[in-house]
C-alpha cells in the first residue's frame, strides 16, 4: 500500500517518447508526454486510434520501455529498471485489464484469480474478489463456460484481487455491448471508490469519460488536453 502522507502523485512522467523503428520508417508513437497521476483518481484516456494510448499505458504498467524521458512510480524509477524489477513491480503493484480478457483457459474463474493471489503479498481471497464483480456463484466455471462480459469481470477480479495500487484498463468494454459494458464499468467504479485504487481507463467512447475524475486526450502521440470533470457521473447513468 502506498503511504498515506503528503505527495498524492503515484506516477510522474517527464518527456516520454516512444519511437518504433521499422527499417527506414520511424513511427513516433509518443512525442513527449508529461503527466502526473494521483492516488485514488479515476482517469480516462481518450484519443483517436493510433494516438498512443496503449503505448502509454503499457509503459506505465512496466510492459514496455520508453525511447526517451522517464517515469517514476512513487519512489521507484521505472525507466532503466531491469526485467526482474519490472516483473516485481507488476506483480506487487499493478492490476491489468485487457480488451481481450487474456484469461487462462485451463483455469477456472477462481483459479484464474488465485493464480495471481498466490504470488501477491497481501491479496484478497479469490472468492471475495469474484464476489466483488458479482460472480460469487460462478467460481468453478472455466472461461469457455462464461460469456464475454463475465470473462471480463473475472479479469477485473483477477486484477484487483491482489489489492494493487494501480489498475490499468485498456478498452475493457471494447468487446462488450453497452449494457454489459455498464456492468463492467460499475465494477471498476466500485473498486476505485471502495479500495481507492488509481484507475486508468482507455476508451474510444467519449460517453465513458463522464465517469472520470480527469480526462486526458491524446492526439498523435502528444497530450492534446487534460481537464478535470467536476460533474462526475455514476457508471449506471452512462449511455452510449
Amino acid at each position: 500500500m502506498p503511504p498515506d502522507n503528503a505527495d498524492p502523485a503515484i506516477f510522474v512522467a517527464h518527456g516520454l517518447t516512444k519511437v518504433y523503428r521499422m527499417g527506414e520508417v520511424e513511427v513516433h508513437a509518443l512525442r513527449g508526454i508529461d503527466l502526473t497521476l494521483n492516488r485514488g483518481e479515476l482517469v480516462v484516456l481518450l484519443g483517436p486510434s493510433g494516438s498512443g494510448k496503449s503505448t502509454l499505458l503499457n509503459i506505465l504498467g512496466g510492459l514496455d520501455a520508453p525511447t526517451g524521458g522517464e517515469v517514476r512510480y512513487l519512489d521507484h524509477m521505472l525507466t532503466g529498471a531491469s526485467e526482474a524489477e519490472l516483473t516485481r513491480f507488476r506483480r506487487e503493484h499493478v492490476g491489468f485489464v485487457f480488451q481481450f480478457y487474456n484469461l487462462i483457459p485451463s483455469l477456472t474463474a477462481r483459479e484464474n484469480v488465485a493464480a495471481v493471489t498466490e504470488i501477491a503479498a497481501a491479496p484478497m481471497r479469490p472468492e471475495d474478489a469474484l464476489g466483488l464483480v458479482g460472480l460469487g456463484n460462478r467460481l468453478d466455471h472455466f472461461p469457455a463456460q462464461l460469456s464475454g462480459g463475465e470473462q471480463q469481470r473475472v479479469a477485473i477480479a483477477r486484477a484487483v484481487a491482489k489489492n494493487p495500487a494501480v489498475l490499468l484498463c485498456d478498452e475493457p468494454t471494447g468487446a462488450l455491448d453497452s449494457a454489459t459494458g455498464v456492468v463492467v464499468l460499475e465494477v471498476l467504479e466500485k473498486v476505485n471508490r471502495e479500495l481507492g485504487t488509481l484507475t486508468v481507463l482507455i476508451t474510444h467512447n467519449a460517453g465513458i469519460a463522464d465517469m472520470a475524475d480527469r480526462v486526458i486526450r491524446l492526439s498523435d502521440g502528444m497530450i492534446a488536453d487534460i481537464h478535470a470533470n467536476p460533474a462526475k457521473k455514476a457508471a449506471r447513468e452512462l449511455a452510449w
Binding site: 507488476r90 506483480r91 485487457f98 480488451q99 487474456n102 485451463s106 488465485a114 493464480a115
Partner: protein, 789 residues
C-alpha cells in the same frame, strides 16, 4: 509472387528452427535407409560384375587324386561348358617375425597361358612365370596383413617339406572374396592366406605330378546344375571325390551370400524401422504444427479460399520441409553408405573394385514415404480446421472443456500449486495429443536402443561362443583322420594342459526335402573344452547314439525335432548313408553345427577311435614355443588360436557392425532431438499467449518456464519407460528377422542400451528446454494484448 506463396516463405523462415528439426527427423530416417540399401545394392552389383568378368565357376569338386587324362572325359560330360582341373594343397606357412600358426591354401595356375575360370585380378606385381618353381601370387588380404610386396619371400611346409616361396604378385579372386580357414568361424587375414603357384611346381612339391585333386566348371546353356553334379560325382567316385557342389555351397560364395542376405535384412529392417518411425513422427509433428494455424485457415476460408487452395498451400509448406529432409538424408546416407561399403570391403570381402551406387528406386521410396507421411499429417489437420465454420475457427481452439483432472477429483489438488494444476489440466485436456507426444518421444528412445543394441549383443555372443562353448585355447586339425593315440603325444608336449580330440566328418544332413551340407562333429560327451549348451546356456552332456543340432539348424533349416530320424550322407571314404536319431537341440549364436559323441560317430563310420583334430588348453606363456613344435609336426595341418579368433572377429564383422551402430546411433540421436525439440516448440506456440499473459500479470520467467517445461519434463519422463518397451519390441523384431546360418542375435539389452535410450531423450529435452528458456525471455508481452489470438 502470389501473396499466399510469400506467406509460405515467411512461415518457413519464421519456423526455421522447427523446419530444421523436422528435416533432421526425415534426414535420420532417409539416411539410414539410403546408407543400408545402397551398401547392399553396391555390394551385389560389384559381386555380380566381378563374378562375370573373372569367370567365377559354377560347379566345384575336390577329390583325392585323379590322373590328368581323366580331364577330357569330365569335360565331355553333357552340360559342361568349360572345365579346368587344379592341384590344391593345404599348407602351413611361416612368415619371418610372426610366430602364430598360419594356415595356407596353395592353388595351381596353368603353366602355360591363363586360367579360363576363377581368374585372378592382379592388384600388384605380375603372375607367375611359366615353369617357375618358387614363384607365388598372394591373396591381397594376406599380403596386406603382413605387408608383403613383390620380391619378398616366405616359407611353406608342403607335405612336411619346407619350401621357400618368392612373392611376385598380389591378387583378388572371385573364388576367395571371403576367406576363412577351415575350422574357424571368422576371417583372419594374418593367420590364413590363399596362394597361387605354377602347376608344375606345386604338383612336384605335393606329389601330384600328372594328376589333379580339384576341378571347377561352368555350365552349358540349359544345363541343369544337379544333373551335372551327379554326372561328375559318378566319374569321381573311383577317385575319392567328396561330392561336387554348386555355387550355393562354394565356401566363399556361400558366406558372401549369407552376409549379403544378412545385410539385406539389416538394411530392410533398419530402413523400415527408422523411416517408419521418422514418418510417424513427421506426421504427428506436422499435424500439430498445422493445427496451430487453424485461425489462419479460418481466415483464409472466410476470404473465400476453397479447401483445395488452402490444402495446397499447407501441403506446399510441408513438402518443402520433407524435400529438404530427404535431400539431406540422401546426401548423408550416400556419404555413410560409401564409408560402410569401404569398411565392408576392407574388413570382410575383397573385391578388386567397388561399384558404389545409390539406386534411384531407394531415393524414390524415401521421397514417397516422407511426402506421404507429411502430406497426410497436414491434410488431416487442414481438413479438421477447415471443416469448422470460419467464425468458430477464428476463436481459440475450444470448446476448451477443461475438466478437473482425476488427481484433483480424488482430492489431491491441495498438494498442487496453480502452475502444476495448469500442467496437469493441459495434458488432460488433450489426452490423445499428449499420448502422441509421449509415443513420439518414446519412439526416439526406442530407436536409440536399436541403433545401439548390437554392440552388447556381439559381446554377449562372443562370450557364449568363446568362453562357454568353445573354451579351448587352440584348435588344431590333422592332415587326415588319425588314430586317437595321437592325442597322447599332444598331451605330452610341454605347455599343453589338457587335450580333447574331435572327429569331424563332412556330410549332407537330410530330413524330408530339407537338407544342409556341412559336417558332423564328434566331440567328448563330458567335454571340458568344447561343450554343447542347452537353451539356458548351461553345458549339457552328450548322449550316445545320436546327434544334437544347433537350434537354428534343427528348427529353421532341417525342420526336425528331437526324436526324428535324420539321414546323414557322409562325404568322405566310402560315403555311407546312415539314419541317426536327433537327441536334442543346442543353443548356439554363431554358426550352426551337428554334434555327436566321438565314439558314436566313430561307430557310425565303422572305424576305431579316430580323430581329425584336437582342442587344446595351454599353459599361459607357453604358446610361442608350442606353436613352433606343432609346426614341425607333419600331421598337423592347421591351427586356430581362440584369442586370435576373437580378435579377428572384432576386427572384421565387429568393425562393420560398430560402424553401423555408430552411424545409426547418430541418426537416432538426430531423430530424437528433432522430435523432442518440435514437441517443445509446438507447446510453446500453443501456449505462448497464455504464458505472455501470465508474464504481464507479474509471473517471472522462471514461473512460466515451469509451466511450459514442466509439461515437457513430465511427458518426457513418462515417455522413457514407454520408450524402453518400444526399444525391446524393435530389438525383438530385429532378432527374429536376423536369424541366419552365420549368426543369430540374442535378445540382450544391456543397461547401457537403456541408458543410451534414456539419455538421448533427456539430453534432447534439456537442450530444447534451454532453447525454450531463451525464447521465453523474448516473449512479446505487448503483442499478446493487442490481438485476440
Amino acid at each position: 509472387m502470389k501473396t499466399l506463396d510469400r506467406k509460405l516463405l515467411r512461415d518457413l523462415w519464421h519456423l526455421r528452427g522447427q523446419v530444421l528439426a523436422i528435416a533432421a527427423v526425415i534426414m535420420g530416417g532417409v539416411a539410414t535407409m539410403v546408407m543400408s540399401l545402397s551398401t547392399y545394392d553396391s555390394l551385389v552389383t560389384t559381386r555380380d560384375r566381378f563374378y562375370g568378368e573373372y569367370r567365377f565357376a559354377e560347379v566345384f569338386a575336390t577329390l583325392k587324386r585323379a590322373p590328368e587324362t581323366l580331364t577330357e572325359r569330365l569335360a565331355a560330360l553333357p552340360g559342361v561348358e568349360h572345365l579346368e582341373t587344379r592341384v590344391r594343397a593345404g599348407v602351413k606357412l611361416e612368415v619371418a617375425g610372426f610366430s602364430d600358426p598360419i594356415t595356407g591354401l596353395l592353388l595351381s595356375l596353368p603353366d602355360v597361358g591363363e586360367a579360363q575360370l576363377n581368374r585372378l585380378h592382379l592388384k600388384r606385381g605380375r603372375t607367375v612365370q611359366a615353369w617357375s618353381t618358387d614363384e607365388v601370387v598372394l591373396s591381397d588380404t594376406f599380403a596386406d596383413a603382413h605387408g608383403f610386396q613383390p620380391g619378398d619371400t616366405l616359407s611353406a611346409i608342403i607335405n612336411g617339406r619346407r619350401k621357400t616361396l618368392t612373392v611376385v604378385g598380389v591378387a583378388v579372386s572371385p573364388e576367395y572374396v571371403y576367406q576363412i580357414a577351415p575350422g574357424s568361424m571368422f576371417p583372419d587375414f594374418k593367420r590364413y592366406g590363399v596362394l597361387w603357384m605354377g602347376r608344375h611346381a606345386l604338383a612336384a612339391a605335393y606329389d601330384m605330378e600328372g594328376a589333379f585333386n580339384q576341378l571347377s566348371l561352368t555350365l552349358a546353356r540349359d544345363a541343369h546344375e544337379q544333373d551335372v553334379i551327379d554326372r561328375v560325382d559318378a566319374v569321381l567316385a573311383d577317385y575319392g571325390g567328396t561330392g561336387a557342389y554348386g555355387r550355393e555351397n562354394q565356401f566363399s560364395n556361400r558366406f558372401l551370400s549369407e552376409e549379403l542376405k544378412q545385410l539385406k535384412t539389416m538394411a530392410t529392417i533398419f530402413s523400415a524401422i527408422f523411416l517408419g518411425v521418422a514418418a510417424f513422427l513427421l506426421n504427428v509433428v506436422l499435424s500439430r504444427l498445422i493445427a496451430l494455424q487453424r485461425d489462419q485457415i479460418a481466415i483464409l476460408k472466410a476470404f473465400g479460399y476453397g479447401y483445395l487452395a488452402i490444402g495446397a498451400h499447407f501441403v506446399k509448406l510441408v513438402l518443402l520441409m520433407a524435400v529438404l529432409g530427404v535431400a539431406a538424408g540422401v546426401a548423408l546416407g550416400g556419404w555413410f553408405g560409401q564409408g560402410l561399403s569401404n569398411v565392408y570391403t576392407e574388413t570382410t570381402f575383397r573385391f578388386p573394385y567397388l561399384d558404389y551406387r545409390i539406386d534411384l528406386r531407394v531415393i524414390l521410396i524415401a521421397l514417397a514415404v516422407s511426402c506421404l507421411a507429411a502430406v497426410s499429417g497436414t491434410l488431416y489437420s487442414v481438413v479438421r480446421a477447415a471443416r469448422l465454420p470460419p467464425a468458430e475457427g477464428m476463436r481459440p481452439e475450444m470448446p476448451a472443456t477443461y475438466r478437473t483432472t482425476l488427481v484433483e477429483r480424488i482430492g489431491l489438488q491441495r498438494w498442487f500449486a496453480t502452475p502444476t494444476r495448469m500442467i496437469l489440466r493441459h495434458i488432460g485436456r488433450r489426452p490423445l495429443k499428449s499420448l502422441l507426444t509421449v509415443l513420439g518421444i518414446a519412439c526416439a528412445c526406442g530407436l536409440m536402443m536399436v541403433g545401439n543394441y548390437q554392440k552388447g549383443a556381439i559381446d554377449f555372443m562372443v562370450d557364449v561362443q568363446f568362453r562357454q562353448a568353445s573354451r579351448e585355447d587352440l584348435a588344431l586339425t590333422f592332415i587326415e583322420p588319425t588314430s586317437g593315440r595321437a592325442l597322447h603325444e599332444l598331451a605330452a608336449l610341454p605347455g599343453v594342459d589338457f587335450v580333447e580330440g574331435f572327429r569331424d566328418v563332412p556330410a549332407i544332413l537330410r530330413f524330408g526335402h530339407h537338407h544342409y551340407r556341412s559336417a558332423v562333429f564328434g566331440i567328448q560327451p563330458q567335454g571340458q573344452l568344447h561343450r554343447s549348451l542347452d537353451h539356458r546356456l548351461q553345458p549339457v552332456a552328450l548322449q550316445p547314439g545320436g546327434v544334437v543340432l544347433t537350434d537354428h539348424l534343427a528348427t529353421n533349416i532341417l525342420h526336425v525335432k528331437p526324436g526324428d530320424m535324420l539321414t546323414v550322407e557322409v562325404l568322405e571314404g566310402s560315403r555311407p548313408v546312415r539314419q541317426v536319431p536327433v537327441l536334442g537341440i543346442t543353443k548356439q549364436y554363431l554358426g550352426v553345427s551337428a554334434y555327436m559323441q566321438q565314439d558314436s560317430l566313430n561307430a557310425l563310420m565303422r572305424e576305431g577311435s579316430t580323430v581329425t583334430g584336437a582342442y587344446l588348453a595351454l599353459q599361459p606363456g607357453a604358446e610361442a614355443a608350442l606353436y613352433a613344435r606343432l609346426h614341425e609336426r607333419p600331421r598337423v595341418l592347421g591351427m586356430v588360436a581362440n584369442a586370435a579368433a576373437i580378435q579377428s572377429f572384432y576386427a572384421t564383422i565387429g568393425e562393420f557392425i560398430l560402424f553401423y551402430t555408430l552411424v545409426s546411433t547418430l541418426l537416432a540421436g538426430a531423430i530424437g532431438f528433432g522430435v523432442v525439440y518440435n514437441s517443445a516448440r509446438i507447446a510453446l506456440s500453443e501456449r505462448g499467449r497464455e504464458l505472455a499473459s501470465l508474464r504481464v500479470l507479474g509471473f517471472s520467467r522462471g514461473e512460466i518456464a515451469y509451466i511450459l517445461l514442466g509439461e515437457l519434463a513430465l511427458l518426457t519422463l513418462v515417455a522413457i519407460p514407454v520408450g524402453f518397451l518400444v526399444g525391446v519390441g524393435l530389438v525383438g523384431i530385429l532378432v527374429v528377422a536376423f536369424q541366419s546360418e552365420l549368426y543369430r542375435l540374442p535378445l540382450i539389452l544391456t543397461p547401457e542400451n537403456y541408458a543410451m535410450g534414456a539419455s538421448v531423450v533427456i539430453v534432447s529435452a534439456l537442450l530444447s528446454g534451454l532453447l525454450l528458456w531463451r525464447r521465453l525471455g523474448r516473449l512479446d508481452l505487448v503483442a499478446v494484448l493487442k490481438t485476440r489470438e
